[in-house]
């Protein structure tokens, strides 16, 4: 008798755990041949809110980690992804990619993580400044993470888009809640498993599957979310997000014409800076003596 294959249950990822959606709902995305990919969680508003609570809980610890440590953890994600590349290639092909495209997508995704792993302890130096104020003060400005970032991931790719928006967000010390590609959700769940085994603390990255048409408004109006990232061209959704974001003055980032495959345009430290705040600190310099630094 031939061995029966064990099928995978695709669940969501909240606070370092893999629950099913609390709503008990599911949907069955199909590939281009009309074959059902899996029964995937149709996440609810409550799942999103739980994920925000997890992200807020993780923010203090993640943002306080040394930049060097964050760099190593991002590098670790890339290592784990490399080790499981065959599984991702299979899933990408299952979701209608050609073998060549699947290979390309996993390569780019791993390399993108390496790229941002390197930026973790460097972007601060590029974007900080010591400000030569006219008064007797020492004054400097540094980037700090903005907080919780709610991300609607690029919809046309299963893995590369997801990685391209998560990596710069967490590289800068933010935590995030991500809604995966609606029609190609498989890699997002498998990627969550990679994250889970990569020393990323629970709650730093939370991944939901489901319908953006249903969840976008909650991503944008949650009062404990600091920024929203949206990657599609749909004007109505963009307007909805921007309007709801005004409730608590969220930062809104629209990445609607980014070619994520482009190594010039699809990655840069400016994606990190988009979810950073600039903090300026002043301190007086004593002026009691008359000595000059003359030698």
């Amino acid at each position: 008798m031939t061995r029966i294959e064990v099928l995978k249950t695709y669940k969501i990822y909240i606070g370092g755990q893999f629950p099913r959606t609390e709503s008990g709902r599911y949907y069955s995305p199909k590939n281009k041949n009309g074959q059902s990919l899996a029964n995937v969680c149709l996440s609810s508003r409550k799942d999103f809110r739980d994920a925000v609570v997890a992200a807020r809980g993780a923010f203090g610890g993640w943002s306080a980690k040394s930049a060097f440590n964050r760099s190593q953890i991002l590098y670790r994600i890339a290592e784990m992804l490399e080790g499981r590349r065959a599984q991702f290639v299979d899933e990408l092909i299952k979701q209608s990619s050609s073998a060549k495209d699947a290979e390309n997508e996993i390569n780019l995704s791993i390399d993108r993580l390496i790229y941002y792993a390197g930026w973790c302890d460097k972007f601060q130096q590029v974007f900080s400044s010591v400000n030569p104020v006219a008064s007797s003060h020492f004054n400097f400005s540094v980037p700090e993470p903005t907080g919780i970032v709610a991300i609607i991931a690029p919809q046309n790719t299963s893995l590369l888009g997801l990685v391209s928006v998560i990596a710069p967000t967490i590289a800068g010390g933010n935590t995030c809640v991500v809604l995966a590609s609606e029609n190609k959700p498989l890699c997002s769940v498998t990627f969550s498993e990679v994250i889970n085994s990569s020393d990323v603390p629970g709650g730093v990255i939370n991944v939901l599957t489901g319908k953006s048409s249903e969840l976008i408004k909650y991503f944008a109006d949650h009062m404990d979310v600091n920024a929203v990232v949206y990657c599609e061209k749909d004007k109505e959704s963009q307007q909805l997000i921007k309007e709801k974001a005004a409730l608590n003055v969220k930062r809104v980032l629209l990445y609607n014409s980014i070619n994520w495959e482009d190594e010039e345009k699809g990655q840069s430290p400016y994606f990190i800076i988009d979810t950073q705040e600039i903090k300026t600190t002043w301190h007086p310099i004593e002026t009691v003596g008359s000595a000059k630094a003359g030698y």
Binding site: V249, S268, T280
Partner: protein, 491 residues
Amino acid sequence: MAKARKNNTVKLTFDTLQYAPAPESKSIAKIDAQYDLFINGKFEKPLSKKYFDTINPATEEKLSSVADANVADVDKAVQAARVAHDKIWSKMPAKERGKYIYRIARMIQERAREFSVIETLDGGKPIRESRDIDIPLAANHFFYYAGWADKLQYAFPNINPKPLGVAGQIIPWNFPLLMAAWKIAPALATGNTVVLKPAETTPLTALKLAEIIQESDLPPGVVNIITGAAATGAAIVNHADINKIAFTGSTEVGKIIQRAVAGTDKKLTLELGGKAANIIFEDAAIDQAVEGVINGIFFNQGHVCCAGSRLFVQESVYKIVMQKLKDRIATLIVGDPMDKNTDVGAINSKQQLETIHKYINIGKKEGADIFESNCILPKKGFFCKPTLFTNVAQSSRIAQEEIFGPVLAIQTFITEDEVIEKANNTPFGLSAGVWTDKGSKVFNLTSKLRAGVIWANTYNKFDPTSPFGGYKESGFGREGGLHGLSAYLNV
């Protein structure tokens, strides 16, 4: 625990020892009876045919009447800015652009005294502050950004920065000329053209700036200055041919603007309200800290978005801090803004005075203890006594909401963690202050306080090179410094 400190404040009794009045002369201020709109390099009658009065809040006397721009006037100004951008300003060599901005800086410096007097007459702030802070900083801001015009490629690695186009800018009444400088200087340096609206209670220095701009031969339409109230501001925000909105004002209005531009591609920066924590640790230099607290909340009558309006005092030094604070408040000179001795001038408008009184009543009703300066307020004009509230609950509205007046809400704390938690527990995140003599404690606090500007052992300091702006509901984007450039570029 620190040893109990002796109060060695020298109390001056002002009943017997008074400063003689030292009034600045009004004669240098040339204020016209009526001002039109500055559009396309000329002062033009408003299509609305309407004017409104601007008064001196210290005397309630009318200073001038200014045009009330309607939608058609705004459209005219935007068209002028568009033509100036497309045909002239964006094509001009960057170094020439810079030279125009330098010229404006110099002309403000030349006329600094006149500007100071008008700023104080129109807005009510002490002449000392107009003279020493507002006007010099405004000139310096132009001077600083002028130099950036031909160096932008060095500010943003691997990007070729381009201007956005026409910027619509709406500014508040607390630092009228300085806010105009914060908005106009970086916009021009980056190659944008401008439609600026000063606040309706303080339009005069912006209109005097328009005179300077005219005199500087800046190409017509590059800067347009139009006056009006909320409806004029709305017309700017909603104009279809504006590429960028920059707003400084209340969080409430900021949210309305964020919603209003949601359906457009307009780039937006917001500099909104605050409720800054000023934190005194037991190891601080207490006299300096008290002086910093006074400056933090009574500078410009507390009409400062980054005012240190919440004071947190470590319990071990609470008594001594309170005593010194009360003694110091008793010496504050409240009154005629034109007097060079005055510390606290006039509240900017009747409406703002009512808002402040509303909050003082809320504080009393919520059960906080009130302490007011025993100064005698002038009979005419809008004035408010420097006010402290103690026994303030974290949930109290006077500890949560921006009052924008000389009212300080005081709380206590025991541990560092506790005060960080309390200080950050607000929707705002504009600024904060820390007073301690321990360096490592300074940096623990400055890195954990969630705010855009942190003053350690100082407060309310500003500089053109220093980026300013908020976290959370205090807005987004920065003004000042290298970081202030990106608000006006496609980066």
